[in-house]
């Protein structure tokens, strides 16, 4: 799915810990909670979205045989709780991204591109799962933010029936600020 214009690094330029996982499905995870409508309301309120498909039961029944969640809420179902019993340290959603930051010793990162493809609608009561695939890593780059590398990660989301509900592709830029010190 990746169609970015990154100049991808030659695999031999990359640490084995990175080159060995390019194209490999990692971190298969199942959400720890069911899809629920309250998150739809939070998102709809945050964006002042009045689409009756998400507010009006009669409209939802006619178009989608019942309530569905706004499609762009796709990623939130796999985001971990900020804290839960037994968890240590910061809980993160896109582990491959954080793995790369650690491997390349790049303390900062931003997302620059995002592609989402929507398949079966997500409904309250669904239990979503996903897995992450590192698609590519660029050679060293310098931008106005600092020096680092770009990478592309695809995330495939399915429901509890195994039906594909969406694919999300992120381009991240991990970097070290050129004025080092504040970024450590």
């Amino acid at each position: 799915m990746t169609d970015n214009n990154l100049s991808e690094s030659n695999l031999t330029d990359l640490p084995v810990a990175v080159s060995s996982v390019i194209g490999v499905s990692q971190y298969l995870q199942i959400a720890t909670f069911d899809v629920e409508n309250s998150y739809a309301y939070n998102t709809l309120a945050a964006t002042e979205n009045a689409n009756p498909l998400f507010w009006d039961d009669a409209v939802a029944q006619e178009l989608t045989s019942g309530r569905i969640l706004p499609p762009t809420t796709l990623s939130l179902w796999m985001r971990p709780h900020y804290w839960e019993p037994g968890a240590e340290g910061e809980q993160v959603a896109l582990q491959v991204h954080f793995d790369l930051k650690k491997i390349f010793e790049l303390p900062e990162a931003v997302m620059t591109d995002n592609t989402i493809i929507f398949y079966e609608p997500v409904r309250a009561g669904d239990r979503i799962s996903n897995s992450q695939v590192l698609k590519s890593v660029s050679g060293p780059k310098t931008t106005k933010l600092g020096s680092g590398r770009f990478w592309v990660i695809d995330v495939e989301f399915k429901n509890q029936h195994g039906a594909l509900v969406g694919i999300e592709s992120y381009t991240g830029f991990g970097y070290r600020r050129d004025q080092e010190g504040a970024a450590s």
């Binding site: 498909l53 900062e108 995002n114 989402i116 929507f118 079966e120």
Partner: protein, 168 residues
């Protein structure tokens, strides 16, 4: 029929503009959007972290919330029967509190696929600047290419498609 038929495929043409949408961004806009998408990263709610650690001007709108804003913008125009197929967006600069976000868009393609589903392609621009500034000084913070399914008749419903009938 309860669901409004706001826009049919035949009513859309290449080059058509969507109505502009302007939103003034506050810290609440950023924090509400981040928490709604379960994004707990501090650069979306912690000013000191964003400015001193990330080196940016303020807390800023997170990626999933930008996606939700793009969804709201295009479905405001197209109505509840419209179904998102694909979004591809690029964030060039961050959206901060104090900005006015202005969404504009133009239709770049109108087509029907081999399964009979009608599609429009839309290029959306999210421009930002100080709310009190001249809008001509605003810069494009993000761009988004949207592929949106539209009904081709008052009885058509893109949401009813699945499997091989849905090719987003």
């Amino acid at each position: 029929m309860t669901a409004e038929v706001r826009l049919l495929l035949g009513q859309v043409a290449v080059g058509q503009s969507l109505p502009e949408l302007a939103i003034d961004v506050t810290p609440t806009t950023v924090v509400l959007g981040a928490l709604a998408s379960r994004d707990w990263r501090p650069m979306h709610h912690d000013y000191k972290f964003a400015t001193e650690r990330n080196g940016v001007a303020d807390i800023f709108l997170n990626t999933p919330n930008q996606a939700a804003w793009f969804e709201r913008y295009v479905t405001d125009w197209a109505g509840p029967r419209a179904r998102l197929g694909r979004m591809k967006f690029r964030m060039k600069t961050s959206v901060f509190p104090g900005h006015r976000m202005v969404f504009t868009a133009i239709v770049t393609a109108v087509s029907t696929d081999s399964a009979g589903c009608g599609w429009v392609s839309i290029d959306v621009a999210l421009s930002v600047g100080a709310a009190e500034a001249d809008p001509s000084s605003y810069v494009v913070a993000s761009t988004c290419e949207v592929r949106l399914a539209l009904p081709d008749s008052s009885t058509d419903n893109p949401w009813s498609r699945s499997g091989e009938q849905w090719v987003p």
